[in-house]
């Protein structure tokens, strides 16, 4: 069952911890090592303390939650839909969220209260989830994953059309703001938003981990899975609902961050095999480390300009994944 899981697992965990420390150590406002240690031990200037504890630490934690959540949700969607191309946004969640967010931006309501934008994005994601679920479970009261995939893609396309319409009717600054939001960013992270996302993501992640064995057998087909004692319909509903909520919470507070949910689970699968009991937790850890690292790059590479984090995840994730894929094909 386990092909050398311990070493890759330990390395991934260690890597994520190192990345998390680097992420709070470096940024556009530089610390010396002495200052960094001083702030960590409760000293330092008030500004430095503010930068570390109110900006960088919440942002790093948000990266861990969102990156880990997206990678975990991606792994679950790939097993559920039995499709290696699946990722957390494939079922229209990003489309719904973005439509909600872009609508708020276009109406100029984003500045009214800081809660409106994430609330609209989350609401949009929920509408998409409910629509897709409703269509896919209407036949015979069973959740048909092929219909799930199809209706997800179609619902996503519909929301894309809504976004295109809103953008076409917007002025240039709104359009820029909307496009930047859609590319994703962790810059809005605060302790309050971290607490909300954590309250969603952590229990949901634990629940998904208990499905690991069921997902293992679902990967060889629903019929066989039920012959092996899996409550297939229940597993599908829980997996779809919970993984969707994780993705929705992430997208509401940090926009549409691509590639994490697609590339990380595949990378972990290539490293440690397809057993979901290791794949799910390691995907969370690797996704967390990867997104925090990508955010560090986004903040520092062209400082003071911030690069959209989705660009970094694609620039780093895609070549890395392709190299790994080539190596695994060579055997």
């Amino acid at each position: 069952m386990r092909r050398g899981v311990l070493l890759p697992g330990a390395l991934l965990g260690l890597g994520t911890v190192v990345v998390a420390i680097l992420a709070v150590r470096f940024g556009s406002s530089p610390f010396s090592n002495a200052e960094f240690l001083a702030v960590l031990s409760g000293g330092g200037s008030e500004w430095d303390r503010y930068v570390l504890w109110e900006l960088r630490v919440p942002r790093m934690l948000m990266g861990i939650l969102v990156g880990g959540g997206l990678a975990l949700a991606g792994a679950v969607f790939q097993a559920l839909l039995r499709n290696p191309l699946a990722e957390p946004y494939i079922l229209g969640i990003s489309g719904g969220a973005a439509a909600g967010a872009v609508g708020v931006l276009a109406l100029g309501l984003a500045s009214v209260t800081s809660w409106l934008l994430p609330a609209a994005a989350f609401g949009g994601a929920l509408v998409a989830i409910a629509l897709v679920f409703g269509v896919a479970s209407s036949a015979d009261r069973r959740l048909d994953v092929r219909v799930l995939l199809l209706s997800g893609v179609v619902v996503g396309a519909f929301f894309s059309a809504c976004i295109a319409l809103i953008l076409a009717l917007s002025d240039a600054p709104t359009m820029r703001e909307a496009i930047l939001w859609m590319m994703g960013s962790l810059s809005g992270a605060s302790w309050r938003t971290v607490a909300i996302v954590a309250a969603y993501t952590l229990p949901a992640a634990l629940l998904l981990l208990t499905l690991a064995r069921s997902l293992n057998v679902m990967a060889i087909g629903e019929e066989t899975a039920s012959y092996l004692g899996t409550e297939v319909e229940q597993t599908k509903r829980v997996a779809y609902g919970v993984a969707s909520l994780i993705a929705a919470a992430g997208v509401a507070f940090s926009g549409v961050i691509g590639f994490v949910g697609l590339v990380v689970p595949h990378t972990v699968r290539l490293l440690t095999g397809p057993d979901h009991r290791t794949l799910l937790p390691l995907s969370f850890i690797a996704g967390a480390g990867f997104l925090v690292l990508a955010d560090l790059g986004a903040r520092t590479l062209l400082s003071p300009t911030e690069i959209p984090i989705g660009v970094i995840t694609a620039f780093v994730g895609v070549p890395f994944f392709l190299i790994l894929l080539r190596r695994s094909l060579r055997g």
Binding site: M1, A79, R213, E223, L228, G229, T230
Partner: protein, 258 residues
């Protein structure tokens, strides 16, 4: 362990003709019971009905004397191993990992695989002549090897009953005979075996009882001599046949006429 169906009717959504139309069947404990019939006659649906994966319009299924609805999926999987007609593996896994999934009904969500599980896995691989395939990736197996591995997975469940849908469909004669002998031996050891197959002659030779289906109904049931009758077969299959005793085995042998 006894399997029984009484007046089972099942209909797929959107179909006007039921896939099963009042089918009754008694599979006594420790028998090898073969279900025969043309394509689309309801054999696979009967298997799914017994396993509770198609909803019934009417009638009932009992397993070990207990109504099917009273079993949880997990309880059922500890007692009944099943091999469906087809399956495909979505992600690359090894043969041993696939066979190890037969242990899932015996494990909780977190309980690790123990020595007794490993022993069951090895024994199942051994019995299906698949031990040397253990470390191969499932995607690299031939059709026949894959079938043997799937039967091994069902055996790893350590079931009291086995239900198999054409398990020898793509096997060469040696592996086909080995699987049938394995099923025969399992039945002799007290495991109830429900075998869906197109091979009338092998069913006649190995099975204790036969059930012949036609258009969702039972056309004939009984011993090979009772079921494999020329007029019945010609009516059910729509093709002229001759039935003679096989000189080698003495059991009925069906030969389609040209």
């Amino acid at each position: 362990m006894k399997l029984s169906a009484s007046s089972v009717t099942a209909r797929y959504p959107g179909q006007s003709v039921p896939a099963l139309d009042g089918v009754s069947m008694e599979v006594p404990s420790g028998t090898l019971y073969a279900v025969l019939g043309p394509n689309g006659s309801g054999k696979s649906t009967l298997m799914k009905a017994v396993l509770g994966t198609v909803p019934l319009v009417s009638g009932s299924i009992a397993i070990d004397g207990r109504r099917l609805e009273e079993w949880t999926r997990k309880e059922l999987a500890r007692k009944v191993g099943a091999v469906g007609q087809q399956e495909s593996v979505a992600f690359p896994i090894t043969v041993r990992e696939l066979v190890a999934m037969g242990r899932y009904p015996h494990l909780g969500p977190l309980r690790p695989v123990r020595t007794e599980d490993r022993r069951a896995i090895d024994a199942a691989l051994e019995r299906c002549d698949a031990i040397r395939l253990a470390d191969r990736e499932v995607g690299t197996l031939s059709g026949g090897e894959f079938q043997r591995v799937r039967v091994a997975r069902a055996l790893a469940q350590e079931p009291r009953a086995l239900i198999l849908d054409e398990p020898t469909a793509s096997l060469d004669i040696r592996h086909e005979m080995e699987i049938l002998r394995l099923l025969r031996r399992s039945a002799d050891e007290g495991i109830t075996v429900l075998l869906i197959t197109h091979h009338l002659n092998l069913a006649a030779r190995f099975a204790d009882r036969l059930l012949l289906m036609s258009c969702g109904q039972v056309a004939a049931e009984g011993s090979a001599e009772e079921v494999l009758v020329e007029e019945t077969l010609e009516r059910v299959y729509g093709w002229p046949v001759s039935v003679r005793a096989d000189p080698e085995t003495g059991t009925p042998r069906v030969t389609p006429k040209s």
